[in-house]
Amino acid sequence: MHIQKKHTKEKFFKALFGATAILTILEVASIIVFMLYGAVPALQKIGFLNFIFGSEWNSSNYDTYTGPMEGLYGIMPMIVGSLFATAGAVLVGGTIGFFSAVFLAEFCPKKLKKVLSHSINLLSGIPSVVYGFFGMKVLLPLLGVFSENGDGAGILSVSLVLGIMITPTVTALSKTSIEAVDRSFFEGAVALGARKERAVFKVIIPAGKSGIFASLILGIGRAIGETMAVVMVAGNNPIFPSGIFASFRTLTTNIVLEMSYGGELQTGALIASGAVLTFFILATNICFGLIRNSGSRFKGKKSSLATLATSYTSTDFTEATKAEGLLDLQTTDGELQNSQTFNNNFLVTSKKTDKASLIGKHMGTVSTIIACVSLFSIIIFILVNGLPYITSELLFGEFSYAGTPSIASSIVSTLMVIVLGSVVAFPLGIAAAIFLAEYANKNGKMCKIIRLMSETLGGIPSIVYGLFGLLFFCNILKMGTSILAGGLTLSLMIVSTTIRGTEEALLMVNDSLREASYALGAGKFRTIRKVVIPNALPGIFATIILGISRMVSESAPVLFTMGASIKPMPTGFKSSGATLAVALYALGREWMHINESYATACVLIILVLILNIASAMIASKFTKRLTCTT
């Protein structure tokens, strides 16, 4: 037996993976430093209070940090605009999403449920420019009929577009949290004689409320950070919104509208408003985190309740739940006092209709119908209008500035960006995830900091990545507007989702396999390489495909870094050009090439749907296989 020797290889790999994880800290730090670096001089010049509370935005390209200031830089109208737009989006998307989730989780027939859930998950990946485009071409003329000035743009159109956009996200997450509620609650309530809809609305939903709130907050985050869909339907005047049809700007659209031609001070002010935006989003994310934590505390309470529910008699359960403040059984309570025998009482209760809950149930059905109809009609409308115009000339034609547009160069640019972004983001993100899942001490400070940073990165709105890319890659590193700068910017953006997805896949690998490998004397690195990664591979693939789909869908970050108009075929990574999403934005804003715009939207939707379906299929196979193993 010769067991006296030591390995240094293990230490090397640990250090390597650790270093990639630390890069995430570096990324957040540099974004923050850049924000301050860009914003502080401008704020000094404008004055912090004038900037935040100023009610007029009338920028001038000639303003510098030193000379006299001609323009006005108050972002209050945009802050109010963002708040209104978000509130409207949550009102529309939150309501529809919540009630659809209730319907899908509790009242939907099984077969239908499967189909609907899958399609709603898929629809959450549809690029936001597509929503914006649809809003611009269909919704605006429609709403214009009701508007005094004949223009449909404004809070109402933005709320509708954003609302429909966030519906799939809210639905999917709320549904998960409703389904996660312990079934014994439901049984407890039904055993008390409550009707199904009453049990759902009075017991299940209150118990799952933390998850439902969290899904709303995630929706808020998406709405507040959205740029391209808003810019196409908001009218874009930098003034306080005065009515549902009044043209206005949000913080994001203000940046995208002015950044490309901004002067020195103007650019600084736009970066500062990016900082304000990031602050809003991080604040919502912190709320999200707090709610999630209180959710897990709540779970502890829940499980004790669950035991109560199953082990006590029904009377005791009523008392217990009342004591926990969960049940609002006033009707039952009243009748309890009138009579001595429970059984009769509950029979009485169950015959009584609980109007509010019944209305809720119908709202669920209606909301689901609205959600499905609007989502599918968007897709179908675009497919019907676009498919006939997907011609070989559009896809492969020679570029010319005058004639019919060809998106050949955009297809190539998109592919190049995907390749570049993938090469940078996936190795880094996967290595960092390996460190977090396999090496780091889960409760250690280091791990917590890295995870916090990675979550922060996930929360930063895409337009801020665009700002960062523009100033850092294009200007400071002198890459210019190029595919190189665009790809790097996108890769920064998807690192955090890659880390999260990969980590989840790694953690799903059964620990017994790791144990078996260690027990054979395999070292940590060998165990990871030969046992853990091969088993997590499908999950990692699914993550990669989702990352690619995100790179295809995003437009705000590449708009600044790669250019906003369709260009001739790129000759290398130094060329500029529009990705497909940006091409749709560019084409869609002109009325000239309406058919080509629809066709481009089709190409985009089809591409993203294929990627999402592939990802979902791989992921579900993966889960099946893992459950077979154990």
């Binding site: 037996m1 067991i3 396999l513 144990e515 490998s517 260690y518 004397g521 046992v531």
Partner: protein, 252 residues
């Protein structure tokens, strides 16, 4: 003749955070014998077993004091833990075959430890599977996924996989508890054959199994080893009252 011990512990204590899972364990396991660990659930059998190949290193809140010697080497001195685990093989309660081919499962260990030549690997595959009594059943499907095997076959593959790195000692944690009686029987027979070459420590909840296959038996309760001796002696004439109660089924 002086008896040689494969495993020896001196005043072994083990804590999970503040919880004392093993206290003052002094055990001496003779070479080329089968030793059974018995005792009620939660008494620390698995914990002790995992001390012998330092699998407890993987548990963050686990703290060990006292000494453990494997073949007279202090395993907490400056040794290569991977080499220790090669020499002290382990089979787990639930079969945990890797989702790879049968062949790759067996060669995983040897390749880990530097065996490269195909002919050597082929020989190892044959010998390990043969010794695990599995060769005839899988020889036509070596390159098929191991997940297609039955539970009993999977567990014997796990044993083959452990044998493939030619250990001296084999630790088995309730290897038959997830199996049907026929598969269990095959594994018991296998243990009996392996005894001539390996020192085997087996955790079992099945008294009959302990009597059938082991030479020595150790009884644990609440982290303490209350009885250790030749199996016949322990079962026919237990010195410890609690051990007697357990064996005769009065608690546990």
């Amino acid at each position: 003749m002086v008896e040689k011990y494969s495993i020896r512990t001196e005043d072994l204590d083990l804590h999970y955070d503040a919880f004392k899972a093993l206290s003052n364990v002094n055990i001496q396991i003779p070479e080329k014998t089968i030793t059974a660990f018995i005792g009620p659930s939660g008494c620390g059998k698995t914990t002790l077993l995992k001390c012998f190949n330092r699998m407890n290193d993987l548990i963050a809140n686990c703290r060990i004091t006292g000494k453990i010697y494997v073949r007279d080497i202090d395993i907490h001195s400056d040794i290569d833990v991977n080499a220790l685990r090669r020499d002290v093989g382990m089979v787990f309660q639930k079969p945990n075959v890797f989702p790879m081919s049968v062949r790759d499962n067996v060669t995983f260990g040897p390749i880990t430890h530097g065996v490269k030549k195909k002919s050597d690997l082929d020989k190892i595959v044959y010998e390990s599977l043969h010794n695990a009594g599995l060769w005839n059943e899988v020889k036509d499907r070596l390159n098929k996924s191991a997940l297609g095997l039955s539970g009993g076959q999977q567990q014997r593959l796990c044993i083959a996989r452990a044998l493939a790195v030619s250990p001296d000692i084999l630790l088995m944690d309730e290897p038959t508890s997830a199996l049907d009686p026929i598969s269990s029987g095959k594994i018991e027979d296998l243990c009996d054959e392996l005894k001539s070459r390996y020192t085997i420590v087996i955790v079992t909840h099945n008294m009959q199994q302990a009597i059938r296959i082991s030479d020595y038996t150790a009884f644990f309760l609440l982290g303490e080893m209350l009885e250790f001796g030749e199996t016949e002696e322990v079962f026919s004439n237990p010195k410890n009252k609690k051990c007697e109660n357990y064996i005769t089924g009065r608690f546990g």
